[in-house]
């Protein structure tokens, strides 16, 4: 039922197409890639795009097309898992704050305020300074610095839902708090949570790219769009293909997720 209406919204359909293609490309990476993304070929550095290397090679002679495709895998993985962590924390905290109210709500929401006061990127850099950079670290770090908006959203949803009589009815039937939150409140708040999650994936991919660009994210030789960009920086003048393709990939992906998120938001008609 969701499909046809989503398709009627052109922008949302475009977003869905982009995201769908991206998922297919990432899933089928070993089939689509024409070379090992980490295979170094020092005899052919900085080859321009050709029949052999569709998007050319980098300074170590690695195939940019293959690295680009495997980079999609990393970006999606990081985006989805980081947002998953953020959703988990944000939903838990928001649901508790909204459901219990009172001092629990005050304490949790002040924590959110404090977290929001710290510039996100500064916070990310501070956290990463204490941890080994790497793909796992980056997922966790983006997750634990990105849950505040979701917590606020879930809290607001729970606050309005809590007043509905079916929640009172569930309490009257003897349902436990956990049951009320998990079976009654959250399923009815799922739409805005999914919208926030979809929009969040774009942001998380962008953050991952930025961190990788600073050398604090995904570590070479694992390809990611961000670290492809920094490797390309030195040869910017002679090899345009090294920066343009990863840059375009980031742009299109983030655009795709944002369009999809906006489309879902319009369709479910809230906030």
């Amino acid at each position: 039922m969701a499909r046809p209406r989503l398709w009627h919204n052109r922008l949302a359909a475009a977003g869905l197409t982009i995201v769908g293609l991206l998922i297919v490309v990432a899933a089928a990476a070993p089939l689509i890639a024409r070379h090992d993304p980490s295979a170094i070929d020092l005899l052919h550095p900085l080859d321009p795009p050709s029949g052999q290397h569709w998007l050319g090679t980098d300074s170590l002679g690695r195939d940019v097309w293959s690295r680009w495709i495997y980079g999609a895998r990393i970006s999606l993985e990081v985006g989805v898992i980081a947002v998953g962590i953020a959703l988990l924390i944000g939903t838990l905290i928001g649901a508790m704050a909204g459901y219990y109210g009172g001092w629990i709500d005050s304490v949790l929401m002040r924590c959110v305020d404090v977290m929001l006061c710290i510039p996100t990127f500064f916070l990310l850099l501070a956290v990463i300074a204490f941890l080994q950079p790497g793909i796992g670290t980056i997922m966790v770090v983006i997750g634990i610095t990105g849950w505040m908006g979701i917590a606020r959203l879930v809290r607001a949803e729970v606050l309005t839902l809590k007043e509905r009589e079916f929640i009172q009815a569930a309490r009257g039937l003897g349902a436990s708090d956990a049951r009320i939150i998990l079976r009654h409140l959250l399923p009815n708040a799922i739409a805005p949570i999914l919208v926030a999650g979809t929009l969040g994936i774009g942001g998380a991919i962008l953050t991952e790219s930025a961190l990788s660009f600073l050398g604090l994210g995904v570590q070479p030789p694992t390809p990611s769009w961000g670290n492809m960009l920094i490797e390309a920086k030195a040869t910017l003048g002679v090899a345009w293909w090294l920066t343009v393709y990863p840059g375009l990939a980031i742009l299109i992906t983030v655009l795709g997720f944002n369009l999809l998120g906006e489309g879902l938001r319009e369709q479910w008609g809230r906030r």
Partner: protein, 341 residues
């Protein structure tokens, strides 16, 4: 022998803080329910009437243990609910159930009828297997006059009356002793409402249920209740058997209610004005601003409920504060105030 009283409210008061100003300081207290004493006996229907905003729904929530009273006690079958918390209270909850005013709101929109009715069975572990639950759901739907084919529908696919039947079936799933019905037919149209009352009366006979039946509609209360309590601005001003109350109302407010319900507008005479705000209760009798019989003594003293036996005992306007609720006399009538004969 077990206590014949199922539900008993003792001196129940509920106040809500009123916050105002830029720092949302507590500026005052609204007394939504003020020192209410009521009891519902096994097999009995107690009606509770009063105009909107008089605290009926708040009282229903207290009686259903969904809201803790600010002071006073709630007892159920000899056990004190107001002292209970957590899982103990959750287990107790199957002994009574609340029927809500708006069935559209009382059902989770994402649950099918079956899921809604199964939930209490699962919570209280009443039926072990999936097959048992299927049978129980079918039996419950049958009890409220719905076919089993309704089981897999969503609330949005049902009419108001059908939804209310599902709410009742869900409540019956835990085999409660008492149903607290908070305006159960107010959101239904008249003919459906009449069917619903018929269903409730029928269920009372077959399931040995007791009711606390709350309504602003005197006609439905008259057809449902054995006894009626009249509530005004948070306080119960009169309790009497249905027959006695409708034949000879003693409290001037009851009289006003009856007149407005059963007489054409032209015959009602003076409308009787607005109820004062529960936030600024004046001293003395809470009804005196609208009371045709108000005197100086009504300003000075607040009447307490006293047991009275009709007909006309010597006029007793104000009870001594020591006189509480008396139970058990032949036809006790509790009034705060009544007209002189």
């Amino acid at each position: 022998m077990a206590d014949p009283r199922l539900l008993e409210l003792r001196d129940v008061t509920v106040t809500f803080p009123v916050r105002a100003g830029p720092w949302r300081r507590v500026a005052g207290q609204v007394r939504a329910v003020d020192r209410v004493n009521l009891s519902v006996a096994s097999g009995e229907s107690l009606g509770l009437v009063g105009e909107s905003g008089c605290g009926k729904t708040t009282l229903a929530k207290v009686a259903a243990a969904l809201l803790k009273p600010s002071s006073g006690e709630v007892w159920f079958e000899g056990e004190r609910l107001s002292a209970m918390t957590g899982s103990r209270l959750r287990q107790m909850r199957r002994r009574w159930q609340l029927i809500f005013q708006d069935p559209a709101n009382a059902l989770n929109p994402r649950f099918t009828v079956r899921q809604a009715i199964e939930e209490p069975l699962i919570i209280h572990r009443l039926d072990g297997t999936v097959a048992d639950r299927r049978n129980t759901v079918a039996a419950l739907l049958d009890k409220v006059g719905l076919a089993e084919t309704f089981a897999d529908r969503l609330p949005s696919e049902l009419s108001g009356g059908e939804r209310q039947r599902v709410v009742i079936a869900r409540a019956l799933a835990v085999q409660p002793r008492l149903l607290i019905c908070d305006e159960p037919i107010a959101s239904l149209d008249v003919s459906i409402g009449a069917q619903m009352l018929e269903l409730l009366r029928d269920l009372q006979r077959r399931e040995h249920l007791s009711y606390l039946f709350i309504s602003h509609d005197l006609r439905s209360v008259a057809s449902m209740a054995h006894r009626v309590a009249v509530m005004y601005l948070g306080a119960v001003v009169e309790v009497a058997s249905t027959e006695a109350l409708f034949r000879v109302p003693w409290h001037p407010y009851t009289e006003l209610l009856l007149r407005s319900a059963f007489q054409p507008l032209s015959a009602q005479g003076v409308a009787g004005g607005e109820a004062p705000s529960a936030l600024h209760l004046s001293s003395g009798c809470r009804f005196r601003a609208r009371c045709p019989l108000a005197e100086q003594i009504c300003v000075d003293q607040e009447p307490a409920l006293i047991p009275k036996n009709p007909p006309y005992e010597p006029a007793l306007r104000l009870a001594p504060p020591s006189v509480g609720l008396a139970q058990g006399s032949a036809s006790p009538r509790l009034v705060a105030c009544h007209k002189r004969p």
